[in-house]
Amino acid sequence: MKFSRILLASVLALGACGTADTPTTPAPGASGALTPIKLQLQWFFQAQFAGYIAAVDQGFYQQQGLDVELLEGGVDIVPQTVLATGKADYAVAWVPKALASREQGAGITDVGQIFARSGTYQVAWKDSGIGSAADLKGKKVGNWGFGNEFELFAGMTKAGLDPSKDVTLVQQQFDMQALLKKEIDAAQAMSYNEYAQLLEAKNPATGQLYTADDFAIIDWKTEGSSMLQDAVWANTEKLSDPNYQAQTVKFLTATIQGWAFCRDNAEKCRDLVVAKGSKLGKSHQLWQMNETNKLIWPAPGAGIGTIDDAAWKQTVDISMTTKNQTGDTVLTKTPEGLAFTNDYISQAIEQAKAAGVDVTGSAFQPATVTLTEGGA
């Protein structure tokens, strides 16, 4: 009977693919039952998403009357598209990529800028003499493409280089082997992931792990070409529904609690992520937790999630003016409509403050994490 059941499932699935059901948002906690919420993440469970994982595990969402399900990403899963097509209630996405989707018609709004800072580096060997964007002239520069490359291109342009003439651009894999093999002079890396992988690899010359002294980092924050990254996006159309508005505030309040928890309990959050079945080792996850905390805390303005006008403007400006190697910009015109709003995050910050949560983390001090081989 397995045949028929599978066939039936396939037929049902085929039949249902065209139906777009958009259920109206029930008032959160109205009937005492938890409101089911789906949050689409950008990638597999890792410490980059620890705040959401902690908010689920510590019951912060539940206290707000929400039953949050975290959806893992995949190679071809685009969170903002999942959100725009109604398959998730909220999504985590980088601002430039989400704005590009908005321009193509995705009705989404940034309601909480969780990462206030960018974690993108360009990493080179210390002995290569590369220390700033201007030093990339004449070098082989790795980049990921797919919209992950614009901070690099903006940085080079700002330093007076023409990325299409002055450097050799190399499409880079999502590991750091090309830099270790010296196929490229500088590699793109996230502070919380790929950079750590370098420090987890063994230097065949010494038999020891590479150290931070072996590498030089170009940090786009100091070069002035950084763009906003992880933010919580909501469905713009649904934001006109008072129930969805109330739900968004509750969701953000619990999210703030989750991230504050991970700031104060980095090792506990590392354990939560590892328990979620992450294949990246413990020391790697603790490194990632610590680096993620650095991107959030201390939080600017009124507190975590507040969208800073200057940072937003810089992101949009770079999105409109910087050309990548194929001559494309992220955006062709200024974002229209409700691209971002601080309305909900400011309410959430007030509620979290009232509950005794430190929403700015002004006393936050990053820890020193020692990586082990392979991040184990």
């Binding site: 190679v75 097509t85 999502f174 184990a376």
Partner: protein, 274 residues
Amino acid sequence: MIAGLVAAALVWEGYKAVGDPEGTVLFGVRVLPRADDLSMPHLWTVLQRLADPEMTGGRPVWLVVAEACLFTLGITAAGFLAGALIGLLLAAMMQRFQIIERGLLPYVILSQTVPLVALAPLIAGWGGTLMPAWATVSVIAAYLAFFPVAVGMLRGLQSPSAAGAELMRSYAAGWWRTLVKLRFPAALPYLFPALRLAGAAAVVGAVVGEISTGTRGGIGRLIIEYSREATSDPAKVYTAMLGAAVLGLLVAGLVALLELPLMRHRRHVEVVTL
């Protein structure tokens, strides 16, 4: 088969022994890959990695890989069965009604030109509501597997000579009886190669579908997870690839087993078709 494995192992290690660790570059284009340990770890390093724990204090890698292979085998089997069944039905329909053949066949062929990367996220969205997440990957596997069966089986069902069909008609045998007694047995030699292709396509569909949608538990997901550690642990990703290769061989073997009971009928087939 064993000889094939030994040969592959010898080629790998042989290239490592004679190949330039920096790779061979001709006119600025790399024509031969690097042979250093980071790009091509020794086979014994890979085998050793299989025995080591996945993470400190974790389970050994071979167990994790084997479990992932079993999970993907399940997805592949469901996709293969659904795909083969749909393929058979389509072939029978196209054989029965020429108008369906003319109308449908171009679309059947067109269906395989849709890039999987465009299709996968769409289907992944059904997970959790319409069906469990693993079943969406089965749908992708079935989508690839139905094609060789539909096309191969159609050719097979059309293979009996006109004389054979006319003989059946002279017996006043209806379409169904002709299908069962004449066309289906005659199609078996066409069906088996088609099923082998479908088996391979189902494995590819399952692995690529897992990678694409990030579905947890299978070997495709494991390849992606381990490849992220390629910087510091290059042997690890090869353990997962080895697992995927073994899975492919296993499915090929299982499909070949399917043929055994049916092939006994083939002697009768030839009597009928003559």
